[in-house]
Structures are given as structure tokens and as C-alpha cells.
């Protein structure tokens, strides 16, 4: 029996673009790099030995710079792209063995997708777009309209059902995209840079909306982004991709505090750590020294809010509470140290150059 908490597992996945990927695969397995493969054999190494487990009911964010293979990876989950080697298992089923009918069923009922450029059908109304999944299954507009309207209302598009997509702003179009994914009632939502094309303020709104929906619905979301702030805001599980390989994955706070390699250190160095880090990630768990504390804070509070509470006094320390019970203590000095990226706190000189 497979682990119930894992919805999708990707094992030893390789993808090589070119005329003879099988042959090129051998070179890659023998250790050839992306640049060499392109120059000597004219094949593009898209993904290399990917192993990722996507937890059920959580948001997994795949982050990487442009060209790192994020879109390629997410398209393997519903087989919009066929792998060169490896396995993809969804809810215990190896989807690479699916025939065309199984695959359509997977796409219609178990997985939905939200796209960077919205990809709505321009000749259909907002309602018809939201009802795409049921309409593909052959339901009439009358049948699906109630469900579709419910989700359109839920994403904040009350009264827009009869508009056409081109009459809406980008942010509203993407809300239709999300409603379309929700109307399909699938457990898994794939989101490829879903908010990257939106203005910053609207993007923040959409992130909040997604977090709200997720708290309510507990879908298994695979979200792709190139923006670390967005990743940290949404992720329960963070996967960092570079040049087609996973270079670190885990709990986001953990990655932030313990970056595995210089590439990630670089990445995390310009983040506003006070806003992102939570008390639980930097506290000392229960030393039970009954010292006098200046107050109680919740384990999910951000460091920023604790700094505000302490009014900048580094001499203080707090009890950390979880569900009303003390789980640890937080010393303000430790908090301040956590605000500086680890590399820089070890070697103070490099901070001069680090900007």
C-alpha cells in the first residue's frame, strides 16, 4: 500500500527534447550536462532525475528561474508532455500506463489546470468557460450552470457570467480560469505561473484568494512560480528547480534557514525574512527553564509581528504558544540573528559585497 498522504509521486523522471531522446538519455545518465548535450548532440535536457512527492491536500510550489523546466515538469503530471524515462503516479495509479480514455478521464475529473495566459475560450461566455469541464463531459449549459455560477461567485465574479472573456481585465480573466478549474471538482489543481501575468497588487489579491480557497477546500495544488515571495506565501512544500534538476525540496521555512547550496542562498538573500519566517521556525522548543518572559506569542506569528510587539527591544524573550499550550520560547536575540541570511551571518565581510 502506498502512503495515503502522497497524492502524486514522480520518480526518476527524465525529459529530453530532440530527435532521438533515448540515445541522448544514455549520455545524460553517464553524466553529460545540459550545455554539452545541446552543443554536441543538439538535444535539450528538459528534466533530469526528478523525484518529488506531492502531499495530499497541500500546496506544493515548484520554483525556479525561467527555463529551469517548471512548465515541462507540471505538464508531465497530466501527460501533456510524455516523459523520456521515469514514473508518474497519481493516487497510486501509474498514469504512464493509461490509454487515451483513462487519460481523458484523468484530465476531466481528477486534475484541472490554470494557465499563465489564462487560455480561456474567447468565443464562449464566462459561464460557459467556467463550465468547460462538465460541457466536455456532455452536460448542457442548463445542467452545469448552477455549479459554475457557484464557483464564479466564490472567486468574486458575481454578475459577470454573461460577459465574454475579452470584456474582463486580466485579473478577472484569471478568476474565470480558477473558477473553471474548481467547477471540474477535481482534487488536484495544476497552476503554471497562474499569477505571473498580473499586476503586483492584483497578484497579491489572487494569492490571498487562493490561500482562502485552499483553507476551505484542501485541494492538492501544484503551483509553479519564479517568484520566491509568492512561493513562500503559498507553499506548504517547496521544490526548487534549476536547469532541470531539483536542488532542494522541503518545508519552505526550513529551506530559507538552511539553504542547501549557493544558488538557493543567492535566491533567498533578498527576501524580507521578517515577514516570511514564522516563530515556530526560529524558537527554541521547551527548555522549561521557568524564567520570567515578557509575554506570549503564537507559533504561527511572523517575526515581523513579534518585532512590532517588542518595539525593537532585543533583551526580551517570549513564550511560544500553540493551541493555548506553551511549545517553546523565543529569544529576541535569536530572532534578530535569524533575520540575517546564514551565509552572511557566518562571514560578515561578504555582507559588504552581498548588497
Amino acid at each position: 500500500m502506498k502512503n495515503k498522504d502522497i497524492k502524486i509521486s514522480i520518480r526518476n523522471l527524465y525529459k529530453i527534447f530532440g530527435s532521438d531522446p533515448k540515445r541522448a538519455l544514455q549520455y545524460v545518465k553517464d553524466g553529460m550536462g545540459k550545455i554539452e548535450l545541446l552543443e554536441e548532440h543538439k538535444h535539450v535536457l528538459g528534466l533530469k532525475d526528478i523525484n518529488v512527492e506531492v502531499p495530499t491536500g497541500k500546496t506544493t510550489v515548484i520554483m525556479g528561474l525561467s527555463g529551469s523546466g517548471k512548465s515541462t515538469l507540471i505538464r508531465h503530471l497530466n501527460r501533456l508532455i510524455e516523459p523520456t524515462a521515469g514514473e508518474v503516479e497519481v493516487a497510486g495509479d501509474n498514469i504512464l500506463e493509461y490509454n487515451e480514455k483513462d487519460l481523458r478521464d484523468l484530465r476531466q475529473n481528477k486534475m484541472s489546470m490554470v494557465f499563465q495566459k489564462f487560455a480561456l475560450l474567447p468565443h464562449r461566455t464566462v459561464l460557459q468557460n467556467a463550465g468547460l469541464a462538465p460541457s466536455i463531459e456532455g452536460q448542457s449549459e442548463r445542467n452545469y450552470s448552477e455549479e459554475a455560477r457557484k464557483w464564479l461567485d466564490r472567486v468574486g465574479l458575481q454578475g459577470q457570467a454573461d460577459q465574454y472573456p475579452h470584456q474582463l481585465s486580466g485579473g478577472m480573466q484569471q478568476r474565470v480560469g480558477i473558477a473553471r478549474a474548481l467547477t471540474s471538482n477535481s482534487d488536484i489543481m495544476l497552476m503554471d505561473e497562474a499569477f505571473s501575468a498580473l499586476d503586483p497588487l492584483i497578484r497579491t489579491d489572487m494569492q490571498d484568494l487562493l490561500n482562502e480557497l485552499q483553507a476551505e477546500l484542501q485541494k492538492t495544488i501544484v503551483f509553479i512560480t519564479h517568484d520566491l515571495d509568492e512561493a513562500l506565501k503559498l507553499a506548504d512544500h517547496l521544490v526548487i528547480l534549476n536547469d532541470g534538476s531539483v536542488i532542494q525540496q522541503g518545508e519552505p521555512q526550513h529551506i530559507l534557514l538552511n539553504p542547501a547550496d549557493p544558488y538557493i542562498e543567492d535566491f533567498v538573500s533578498d527576501i524580507n525574512r521578517a515577514r516570511v519566517l514564522r516563530v515556530r521556525s526560529v524558537m527554541t522548543s521547551l527548555p522549561e527553564t521557568q524564567l520570567e518572559r515578557s509575554g506570549e506569542i503564537d507559533h504561527e506569528d511572523t517575526l515581523e509581528s513579534v518585532i512590532a510587539l517588542s518595539e525593537g527591544d532585543t533583551a526580551l524573550s517570549y513564550h511560544v504558544m500553540k493551541d493555548g499550550k506553551p511549545v517553546g520560547v523565543l529569544d529576541m536575540r535569536k530572532l534578530v540573528r535569524a533575520l540575517v541570511p546564514s551565509e552572511q551571518s557566518k562571514e560578515p565581510e561578504s555582507a559588504l559585497f552581498g548588497g
Binding site: 481523458r104 484530465r107 494557465f115 487560455a119 468565443h123 469541464a133 475579452h166
Partner: protein, 345 residues
């Protein structure tokens, strides 16, 4: 002595050629006739070396065919397969004759006081523009007033049937081209040929194949000439459909068929309609030429103008064709604009 004797000598084909020199086996080439009038076997300078054409080679070797034999060979070859070809093509194209006859009959039988309002109604439904409806009324009113009503209706009937056939055949061909690069590669030269071949050229074999009194003769000529744009633009339109939208259709589990009918064709519709517009205009252009092979309508009047130098008839019927062109163009363009508005992004 002919210039190219040496070729046949060198290749050891002299025996195959038979007697060297002019043994005149029936057909005489133009060059030979000229040579005879100007005196035999004048020594030629290098400047005057003839191109190694069939006739020049024939001069050196009587067994080598003359170009005239090529053309007559083509002709007798065509005549030889004509009957079998007719057995196949005749029944296949018979519906076209029926359709043309029916359409002509309907358009001429329905009285003008029903027909003109009907046409106005159609243009309203398609374009939703009062201006165009008025234009239609004025044009048909004018053409009826100068006693060209029947001719106009005949032309309209022919265009209706031919353009419709172009769409019925052209759109599926275009779809097939858009789905397979191989089909596209084979179709493009054929389309290029149809588009550039002077229409008179394919009228000739058609005349051999069918009798001049059959409507399908001009029907086929018009369709072959006018089908090209709708095929090309259907192919282009489907290939231009936004890749992201296609991907979304795939991601939500559409079958190929659903994708074609619910996404690709609707999104390609502006281009397909642009093709239909072109097709209609080209069939109108062809109607005049088709009158040479008994197509009725305004083209007959144009021909009368040319044949018996009736300047007035020629000009007026020419104007009639222009008016018809304007109406058809405006109405289809208005339909196109309506499609564009409903799906611009």
C-alpha cells in the same frame, strides 16, 4: 547536315535513327520549311546554333519525335482515357448539374416581389446593418429597372451553388491540411497550380469531357478556380489558433473531435470567413469566362457586348457585375466583422 548529328553518331544510335538527313516522314517542322525556302543546307555559324529542341534533334535523327508529336500525343492520350474518365467523373459530378439547374430554376421562378425582400432579409440576418439592406435594395432595384433582373438572378444562383460547393469541399480539405504536414506539402503545389493556371486552360479538357450544354461544365470550372482561398485560409486559420487555448482544451480532456468543432473551427472562423469572401469574389470573376461555355447570367451580356460590339450592353452588364460584387463583398465582410467582434481578445 543537321547540327546535332554528332550526338546520335557518338551514342551509336545512327541505326535506330534510320537514314541520316531529311527523309521527311510526313510531318515537316517550321525550321525545315524555312530552310527549304531559303535554300538547302546553308553552312551555319556557331552563333546560329539552334537550341537542342525536339525539332532540332528530329532534324538530325528522323526517329526522334517532333514537339508537335508531343502535343498530339497528349491529345490522343487524353482522348483515349476520356471515356473511362467520363464513366467515373460523370456520375460524381452529376449532382452539381442538378444543383445548378435547381438553383437557376428557383431564382428565376420566384417572383421579384418575393425575391428582393428575401435577399434583403438575408443580408439583414447576416450583417445586422440597415445600410447594407438599403444597398441591396437599391442595387437589385436598379438592375431590375434596366431589365437585367433575370440575368442577375442567374448569376447569383450560379455563385450561390459554386461558392457553397467550394465551402463544402474546401473547408474539410483545409482542415486535413492543417492536421498533417504531409497533406499540406502535397496540397500546396496543387493549390498554386489552380490559382495560377489560366482558367481557359482547364476549360479545354473539361469541354472534351462533358458536353457544352451541361451546367456542371462551368460549375466545375468555377469551383476549381474559386476553391483555393477557402482551402488556404482554413488551413492557415486552424494553424494560427492560439496554442495556449489548444493546450487548455487538452488539459481539460477534450477529444480530438471536440477540439476541432468546439475550439479550432470556431477560433479559425474569422480566417475561414475571409476565405469564403475571397471565394465568392473569385467565382464572380469566373462567371464571365464561364459564359463562354454556356453559363447563363450577366456574363452572357458581357460576351454579347464583346462579340457584336454593343458597347452599351457591355458597359451596363459590367456595371451589374460590379454592383453584385460590392453587395456580396460588403455582406460577407459585415458577417466577418460580427464574428471578429464576438471573439477579439
Amino acid at each position: 547536315m543537321a547540327t546535332y548529328d554528332f550526338i546520335f553518331n557518338r551514342l551509336g544510335l545512327r541505326n535506330w535513327c534510320g537514314e541520316s538527313g531529311d527523309t521527311g516522314d510526313g510531318m515537316t517542322s517550321m525550321a525545315q520549311l524555312l530552310a527549304e525556302t531559303s535554300g538547302d543546307d546553308v553552312e551555319m555559324s556557331a552563333w546560329e546554333t539552334p537550341f537542342p529542341s525536339m525539332d532540332a534533334l528530329h532534324e538530325a535523327c528522323p526517329s526522334f519525335p517532333q514537339s508537335r508529336e508531343l502535343t498530339s500525343g497528349l491529345e490522343s492520350g487524353f482522348l483515349a482515357i476520356k471515356d473511362t474518365l467520363k464513366v467515373v467523373v460523370d456520375p460524381l459530378t452529376q449532382p452539381l448539374s442538378w444543383a445548378l439547374n435547381e438553383a437557376l430554376w428557383v431564382m428565376q421562378t420566384v417572383p421579384w416581389f418575393i425575391m428582393i425582400p428575401l435577399l434583403m432579409l438575408v443580408s439583414w440576418v447576416v450583417s445586422r446593418q440597415m445600410k447594407l439592406v438599403a444597398l441591396v435594395a437599391i442595387c437589385f432595384g436598379f438592375l431590375g429597372f434596366v431589365d437585367y433582373y433575370i440575368y442577375t438572378m442567374q448569376t447569383l444562383a450560379i455563385i450561390f451553388v459554386c461558392a457553397l460547393s467550394c465551402v463544402v469541399f474546401g473547408v474539410p480539405i483545409g482542415i486535413a491540411m492543417s492536421r498533417s504536414d504531409r497533406v499540406q506539402r502535397t496540397m500546396i503545389p496543387i493549390l498554386d497550380m489552380l490559382q495560377t493556371l489560366p482558367p481557359f486552360v482547364y476549360l479545354i479538357p473539361l469541354i472534351f469531357l462533358f458536353s457544352v450544354t451541361e451546367p456542371k461544365l462551368y460549375g466545375i470550372a468555377i469551383i476549381l478556380y474559386a476553391i483555393v482561398p477557402v482551402v488556404r485560409l482554413t488551413d492557415l486559420g486552424i494553424r494560427l489558433v492560439d496554442k495556449d487555448v489548444i493546450e487548455a482544451a487538452d488539459a481539460f480532456g477534450m477529444s480530438k473531435r471536440q477540439k476541432l468543432f468546439n475550439v479550432q473551427i470556431p477560433l479559425a472562423l474569422p480566417n475561414i470567413m475571409a476565405g469564403v469572401n475571397q471565394t465568392i469574389m473569385m467565382s464572380l470573376a469566373m462567371v464571365v469566362i464561364a459564359s463562354l461555355v454556356s453559363a447563363p447570367g450577366l456574363g452572357v451580356l458581357v460576351l454579347r457586348g464583346i462579340r457584336s460590339l454593343e458597347l452599351g450592353v457591355g458597359l451596363l452588364s459590367g456595371l451589374g457585375i460590379v454592383l453584385l460584387a460590392i453587395i456580396l463583398d460588403r455582406v460577407t465582410k459585415a458577417a466577418l466583422a460580427r464574428i471578429n467582434v464576438s471573439q477579439s481578445n
